[in-house]
């Protein structure tokens, strides 16, 4: 039964555009809500945990390769500040760090041209500051804004939609929305789909990342289903967490979400991005995540267009590892400029 469904979902996009070279992945337009597919989704927790537990032992990246991978990880970081005490000064500092994440002499030693992080990620109020700062520095770096009543997503619905529009008007090119967890927990997939559709529509040309708040969804099966519904409704990225839940990004949750992305791609031909957020603070963890993406989704996804880390302290650990690679000596935090 399921195979029939799959065959009806053969990649329309592949047929239409297979002959065209794709520089950046085409945006996911979404599709009609396919409840048969959503209901057929399975996620076996124990097996998923086993895969994640063995992965770090199966893939190891050393020396030059490690340095290159860590640089790549930096280009995928949504350097984030989402605190009640954020000020324009704090945000300007963050932008400066995002534009110059690694000390120039380390970059020279590695023989790599300057890089930036993937984006900066702030609350709505800080968008203009971030946009202007980056513009002033002459760096083209997306500004992402969390939206829709972040982090709980329980403000009046019309205000949530309007918040997106306001943020886009303010210059945000990426919007990180939060879904209504209640729709997942009550199995109201149509409501989740409709909500996501509205959010996507409100984003216009800005890319939309759907934050599932996986730590509040109760089961990996729910995570898988919510991932699928959000993609069907046109999400450009699916993202684990707000960073405010008690459990944020984990490898098992990531595996479930990227397998959903893979299934969606196989069925529709559209590549949806993935963003784990919260709790990823070590360079070694970043390498494991990149290996997970490489193994389960493939090299295509190892680009900031399709993969981001939502992180604030990860960069600092990566900088220290890079200096270690260059000098052969373990580094110290204070040797690297703060954000």
């Amino acid at each position: 039964m399921q195979s029939e469904q799959t065959s009806t979902r053969t990649s329309k996009r592949d047929r239409d555009t297979a002959q065209l070279p794709q520089v950046t992945p085409a945006r996911n337009p979404g599709m009609a809500l396919d409840m048969n597919w959503v209901r057929a989704v399975q996620a076996n927790t124990s097996a998923i945990e086993r895969r994640c537990a063995t992965l770090p032992g199966r893939r190891s990246v050393k020396k030059e390769h490690q340095a290159a991978w860590l640089l790549k990880a930096i280009t995928m970081i949504d350097l984030t500040t989402l605190a009640g005490d954020d000020t324009p000064g704090r945000v300007r500092r963050l932008c400066a760090k995002a534009a110059h994440p690694v000390r120039p002499e380390i970059m020279q030693a590695l023989g790599v041209d300057a890089i930036t992080t993937g984006a900066v990620c702030v609350y709505h109020d800080m968008i203009p500051t971030a946009v202007e700062t980056l513009k002033h520095m002459g760096v083209s770096l997306p500004v992402a804004a969390v939206s829709t009543g972040f982090p709980a997503g329980l403000s009046p619905y019309h205000l949530r939609v309007e918040e997106i529009r306001e943020s886009v008007r303010a210059g945000a090119s990426e919007i990180d929305i939060v879904i209504s967890r209640q729709h997942v927990l009550t199995g109201n997939w149509q409501a989740l789909y409709d909500e996501m559709r509205d959010f996507r529509e409100a984003c216009g040309d800005a890319h939309v990342k759907a934050i599932l708040a996986t730590g509040e969804l109760g089961s990996l099966r729910n995570v898988a289903r919510a991932s699928l519904v959000c993609m069907m409704a046109g999400a450009d990225f699916i993202k684990t967490s707000t960073g405010k839940e008690s459990v944020n990004a984990t490898l098992p949750v990531s595996l479930v979400m990227i397998r959903a992305i893979r299934d969606y791609y196989e069925a529709t031909g559209y590549q949806v991005g993935y963003k784990p957020a919260g709790g990823i603070s070590k360079a070694k963890d970043a390498l494991t995540y990149l290996a997970l993406i490489k193994e389960e989704l493939g090299d295509d996804w190892l680009t900031p267009e399709l993969f981001r880390f939502g992180a604030s302290s990860l960069l600092g650990d990566i900088e220290r590892q890079l200096e270690h690679h260059v000098t052969g000596h373990y580094s110290a935090t204070y040797r690297h400029p703060m954000g």
Binding site: S46, A47, T54, S60, H65
Partner: protein, 783 residues
């Protein structure tokens, strides 16, 4: 490559584990190894090369042990064993604990040496093999500690000869040595000639642990060394893990020798995927099932059986996963598939695939194949049928054969359509379905939604031609202990001869066989008279031949439904047999007295009624167990019937002996074919009338009469019989064990030793253990 280039390609690059320490360990011993006998390494003898299969380079030279060396090792073990067994359990526990700790302390050296020697990826030796080795010694340190309190009625067997394969060299060593020495045995172990190095390193840690000299002896070399151990008169037990072919040879060679034997042999384990499974996880499970250790795993899930509706989608996912597998230098930390152990194996895999792949569609992982060394790519062949050679023959390589099914019943049918029965895997999110399927699979281990899970607490071992005996858990200790106490020789009893002048009752009474719930005449048309001591003609009984055995086994097979009945139902029937026997107790007592002479008949009938009650009691009380394995989940040890059991009843107690063999068997859900007491057969033939009136379904109990020595070969050789027991006065143990090699059925023979059928030795757990298989069902859970 520069950082800048790698930044674009995002390749893994090399991540080699250093071989330096392991190579210098070998170099420190001049690259030449002797044998470990009586606590000392002998001087190197006749040497052969041990190679690294990933490069073909010679790692070290090992000694081919001579028969004299084996003799010396067995003598050293014999000399050490009594003292070792006399130590308290706690004293032995301390040594096992030290071994566990030492394995952990030298864990990286063991892991690297194993990978160099065997070719398996360092990830596996480091993360799986060596931790399991340590776990096995810890677990059995505990068994030694508890032995005095928990196993007071059992004692060590003596000297154990242990022969292990090359696929998990140190792990198999630990599975063999840990339980053996924990229980007070001494061992002579032969590692496989391809992979002896970690065993020799283990010899070193035995010294570091201060293990008394001679408790562990290690002799290296090829099959000739194994043969010398197997045929050595002073060896009390053989434990073998390896091919079914060699297992069969060992079964024949040890037949009638009185040696205990456990065999852990080949497999062609099914891997069943239902349409409601988490398909991505089931695909990943296959990586652990068939591409783990290059597929050189006896319990590898090598037969993929997928529900038809999802097969194409599943295969597509599987092929995509295969594309990601990395094959190469086993010491590289990012390698999934290493080298197969030897060019001989590589050739065998290639030939089997080349010969059989034409039946289906072949897909091989596109990973580059290293030019040097023995590498075979991960392989999938879809579209096969059960008749394809690749679905039947054990390949012992990274080759997965696939077919489809329509219904759960058909999945079971295909899964069980094999001579083997080691392990099985079932994937479904439906707990009803998985727990329904698991007991129906002919295998010693079932993994639900996972695969290749092992632990010292959980029994491992097979049914059918995958061997017999369990390793791990309490059940594993059966293989290294025996009931305490001395046994006496069994005196043969001849039937009373025909008198010169017969005293004949006018009315002729002819006892027949009891087959399929009906009385049956002997196929051959021969009968023989049964005389009393005084020369009375007590009756005639049929003389069974091989066709009668065939018919009886056939009838037993048709009664397969008995194995699915509840213990409660079987208990009621056993009580009912007891009740009906009691109603005719006078008649049975008189019959026994008439046949044997004397006045013990009434006592024997009472004992038989009591025995029926004993097993009626046990029918619903021989509990399984939930094993505390180190994961979130449960490993259930379920007692299942063996199947069809053939039995040669004791001569001396014509009714009680029959009941003592029948009752535990049928209480546990087996069907039986019993050859009645040869000199005194009429109690058994009278007894079928009791069965007839006791609601025993047709075919559950089948009784024949005749010459045990003549029936031994056809019954023990019957490929549809799952176990044969003999408690016969005829010395047929050698025939039974030898003939059993055909399908490697379980045997339980008396070796011409007596048993007190009236005492505690005549009933209880020992019988129940022989009447059941332990199936370990792993059920990881979590939402």
């Amino acid at each position: 490559m520069t950082v800048k280039e790698i930044f674009e390609t995002m390749d893994y690059g090399p991540a080699p584990e250093s071989a330096k320490e392991a190579l210098s360990w070998i170099a420190d011993r001049d690259g030449k190894f002797g044998l470990y006998i009586g606590g000392k390494m002998t001087a190197p003898g006749d040497l052969f090369d041990s190679k690294n299969p990933a490069t073909g380079e010679v790692l070290a030279q090992l000694t081919q042990a001579t028969p004299d060396d084996v003799d010396a090792a067995v003598s050293a073990a014999r000399k050490a064993q009594r003292k070792w067994a006399a130590l308290s359990g706690h004293e032995r526990a301390k040594y096992l604990y030290a071994l566990a700790r030492l394995v952990q302390k030298h864990s990286r050296l063991f892991a690297v040496l194993e990978t160099l020697d065997n070719g398996k990826p360092i990830r596996e030796s480091r993360d799986i093999d060596i931790p399991l080795v340590a776990r096995h010694f810890y677990y059995h340190a505990g068994m030694a500690q508890l032995q005095d309190a928990e196993l007071p009625d059992r004692e060590a067997l003596g000297v154990c000869g242990q022969i292990i394969p090359w696929n998990f060299p140190l792990l198999m060593l630990s599975w063999k040595i840990a339980p053996a020495i924990a229980m007070g045995n001494a061992v002579v172990l032969k590692p496989a000639e391809y992979t002896s190095l970690t065993a020799l390193l283990f010899a070193q840690i035995c010294e570091e642990a201060g293990l008394p000299k001679g408790v562990v002896n290690i002799v290296t070399g090829d099959g000739r060394v194994g043969e010398a151990i197997v045929t050595h008169e002073e060896v009390d037990k053989i434990a073998f893990t390896g091919s079914t072919e060699v297992g069969r040879v060992i079964r024949r060679e040890t037949a009638g020798s009185g040696k205990s034997l456990t065999l852990e042999l080949g497999g062609k384990s099914p891997y069943i995927v239902f349409d409601d499974a988490d398909l991505d996880s089931a695909v990943e499970g296959l990586v652990d099932a068939i591409w783990f250790n290059q597929g050189q795993v006896c319990c590898a899930g090598s037969r993929l059986i997928v529900q038809e509706g999802i097969a194409d989608r599943f295969y597509a996912k599987l092929r995509a996963r295969m594309d990601k597998l990395r094959m190469g230098d086993p010491l590289d930390k990012s390698i999934d598939v290493g080298a197969v152990v030897d060019p001989v194996q590589h050739k065998r895999i290639t030939e089997l695939v080349d010969a059989g792949a034409g039946d289906g569609e072949l897909y091989q992982a596109p990973c580059p194949i290293p030019t040097a060394g023995c590498f075979y790519p991960p392989t999938l062949i879809t579209g096969l049928s059960p008749a394809s050679s690749l679905m039947q023959e054990e390949i012992f390589g990274p080759v997965l054969a696939a077919t489809t099914f329509r219904t759960p019943a058909e999945a079971v049918e295909i899964a069980n359509n094999t001579r083997y029965g080691l392990a099985a895997t079932v994937w479904s999110e439906n707990v009803n379905l998985t727990l329904d399927i698991a007991p129906k699979l002919a295998s010693g281990v079932v993994w639900v939604n996972g695969t290749n899970m092992f632990d010292a607490a959980a029994g491992f071992g097979g049914v059918r031609e995958s061997g017999f005996g369990r390793e791990g858990g309490w059940e594993g200790l059966q293989a290294y202990t025996k009931p305490r106490g001395a046994v006496k020789a069994l005196k043969p009893i001849a039937a009373f001869p025909a008198p010169k002048e017969a005293k004949v009752d006018a009315l002729d009474r002819t006892a027949k066989f009891y087959i399929g719930g009906k009385q049956a005449r002997p196929d051959g048309g021969y009968s023989q008279a049964v005389w009393s001591k005084q020369g009375d003609l007590l009756g005639h009984v049929g003389v069974a031949n091989r066709k009668d055995i065939r018919n009886a086994v056939e009838a037993a097979h048709t009664a397969a439904g008995w194995s699915k009945t509840t213990g409660h139902l079987r208990a009621q029937i056993l009580y009912y047999i007891g009740e009906n026997l009691s109603a005719r107790s006078g008649e049975f007592a008189a019959r026994i007295d008439a046949m044997i002479g004397g006045r013990n008949g009434a006592k024997e009938v009472d004992a038989a009624i009591s025995r029926l009650f004993t097993y009626a009691a046990w029918a619903d009380k021989y509990d399984g167990a939930a094993k505390p394995v180190p994961m979130r989940g449960v490993a259930l040890a379920m007692h299942e019937p063996v199947g069809v059991i053939g039995g040669f009843c004791p001569d001396e107690a014509p009714l009680l002996g029959l009941v003592s063999m029948m009752a535990p068997s049928i209480a546990m859900g087996n069907r039986v074919v019993l050859a009645a007491s040869e000199p005194f057969p009429l109690a058994a033939t009278d007894f079928y009338q009791v069965l007839d009136t006791s609601d025993v379904p047709a075919g559950v109990v089948n009784i024949v009469t005749g010459n045990h020595a003549e029936l031994a070969a056809p019954l023990a050789g019957h490929l549809g019989v799952d176990a044969v027991w003999t408690q016969s006065g005829a010395d047929i143990s050698a025939i039974v064990e030898g003939e059993s090699a055909g399908n490697l059925k379980r045997t339980w023979v008396n070796n011409a030793k007596a048993r007190d059928w009236f005492g505690p030795a005549g009933e209880g757990r020992e019988f129940l253990a022989h009447a059941t298989e332990v199936k370990t069902i792993w059920v990881p859970y979590g939402e």
